[in-house]
């Protein structure tokens, strides 16, 4: 859930979509400005954070990539617990990935938090010659289901920052909620703080 302090918003963002749709590539482009032609299937780091300034506030995204647990239908509910935003990614050159993406939308509507900001990303927009899913079809679906839609390319960077920026803009600013808990961190030095709790 988005939490606020001094105009700083913390927001958990999850990525969902078929294997190879480009989830990790979108994050890598957004967080590090890079693109790898042969991005390996996700293992290793699957957690990033990145801060964006929007109008009056800064939004710090905590970005969760799936780590492959969804492949055998075994994604843990904790993955979408408390998520303020989700990007559902499909590959415009694969109708199967589009079908899968629609299933994820249903799943999120069932499991996720009702105020979640959902973005629908038709990725690999640079591969126009191989396109199988039209932008019109996807836009229509997105509108019917209350998502906002963009076609992106992690390769050319087209619309990548824009989609995160648009999410940041749409995050609800004030949400009544339980006070957040604390995260245990390994923070060397600064012993004076070691007993401080902040709930």
């Amino acid at each position: 859930m988005a939490t606020i302090g001094n105009n700083n918003l913390n927001a958990k963002l999850v990525l969902l979509g078929d294997m190879g749709a480009g989830k990790s590539s979108l994050v890598l482009r957004f967080v590090k400005g890079q693109f790898l032609e042969f991005q390996e299937s996700t293992i290793g780091a699957a957690f990033f954070s990145q801060t964006l300034a929007v109008n009056d506030a800064t939004v710090k995204f905590e970005i969760w990539d799936t780590a492959g647990q969804e492949r055998y239908h075994s994604l843990a509910p904790m993955y979408y617990r408390g998520a303020a935003a989700a990007i559902i990614v499909y590959d415009i050159t694969s109708t199967e990935s589009f079908t899968r993406a629609k299933k994820w939308v249903q799943e999120l509507q069932k499991q996720g938090n009702p105020n979640m900001v959902m973005a629908f990303a038709g990725n690999k927009a640079d591969l126009e010659e191989k396109r199988k899913v039209t932008a019109e079809e996807a836009r229509l679906y997105a509108e019917e289901n209350g998502l906002f839609f963009m076609e992106t390319s992690a390769k050319t960077a087209s619309n990548v920052n824009d989609i995160f920026y648009e999410i940041a803009r749409r995050l609800p600013r004030a949400q009544p909620q339980n006070p957040a808990g604390m995260v245990l961190v390994d923070r060397p030095a600064d012993r004076s703080q070691s007993a401080a709790c902040c709930s």
Binding site: N10, Q69, S74, M78, N178, A180, M182, V183, L184, C197
Partner: protein, 444 residues
Amino acid sequence: MDEEYDVIVLGTGLKECILSGLLSVDGLKVLHMDRNDYYGGESSSLSLVQLWKRFRANDKPSEQLGSSKEYNVDMIPKFMMANGALVRVLIHTDVTKYLNFKAVDGSFVYNKGKIHKVPATDVEALKSPLMGLFEKRRARKFFIYVQDYEDNDPKSHEGLDLTKVTARDIISKYGLDDNTVDFIGHALALHIDDNYLDEPALDFVKRMKLYAESLARFQGGSPYIYPLYGLGELPQAFARLSAVYGGTYMLNKPECKVEFDGNGKAYGVTSEGETAKCKKVVCDPSYLPDKVKKVGKVARAICIMSHPIPETSDSHSVQVILPQKQLGRKSDMYLFCCSYTHNVAPNGKYIAFVSTEAETDQPEVELKPGIELLGPVDEIFFDIYDRYQPVNKHDEDHCFISQSYDATTHFESTVHDVLAMYTKITGKELDLSVDLSAASAAAE
């Protein structure tokens, strides 16, 4: 599934998930399966609908209890010692980033029919109504000895070799009476019976120190912390760690039959007609029932309430220990309560547990002294489960089986079992010497 794995882990209980995570981080190829379609096995947290399905299949929860989804009722209720072994594992593996915690409000002990705050420091000892005037002074001296005791500072030992003298010896040196020993031993050192009295005092003193240091850590009313949304989050967080390091996850796999070769050595696991090969199998007792023996049983009551446990200063999360002697029993009884403040129930609702190592087959009767302390309850469920221990030889069959969760209120024994299994599986010791005094808590 027809690949070969280093390790196949069966069951997604907390112990199995921690092991799966540690092994994947070590670079082993891990396949993790569960017969259920949810994570956590015995250590999951249930929604109301799931709770009813499990205990009252013919009935539905009443509307007044609120939304089913807002409940996360632990099946193995425990708190985490703020400086304890599980926190060390969480920090060591960096799994903390997936979880949010809150301190537990209170820690109490039952004494002569009443509930009292557990005094954990010399200052609190002086204020505690648990002791008379002279006993307070003696207890204070003992607390100071424990606080000052450092392994590597012989001066602080006051001439006692704690690896030799027993807990009983050190208690009599300070002249503490039985009543004081009862709450110190059970509510501070968290011993579950009185066997510790005749063992070397070092463990007893270290447990008291752990309690006091954990208490100081977050300046709450207890040495405990607890994750938002319940303990079911813990196995999921470690499963994610495992997946992030390449572990493969398959839930909802029926059967999960371990296959053995002619020499009785496990070589794979079959589910739905497919066999995945592996070098080692790690599992909870339910996956290899022929290789475990029953060692005891736990009796418990799970209650939904609309108020905190009376006489606990309105604590929204609390532990109360009822030492065995206070009830004329052989093992302690525990009350555990959590609420909407930890996101385990809707606003205004509390989940309380009464649990103990069962000495009879009648949990309703046996748990009565604990239940009476709760006041009126909205709903109550009784349950009794068997505890198992492995009896196999892992060097022969390559199977590594965890012990069932015990009735203790914290995770120290759980992590102890995990670390021992890790060493058996890998031949390595896990170094958990993270600098806890440096580790701290940050606002989300």
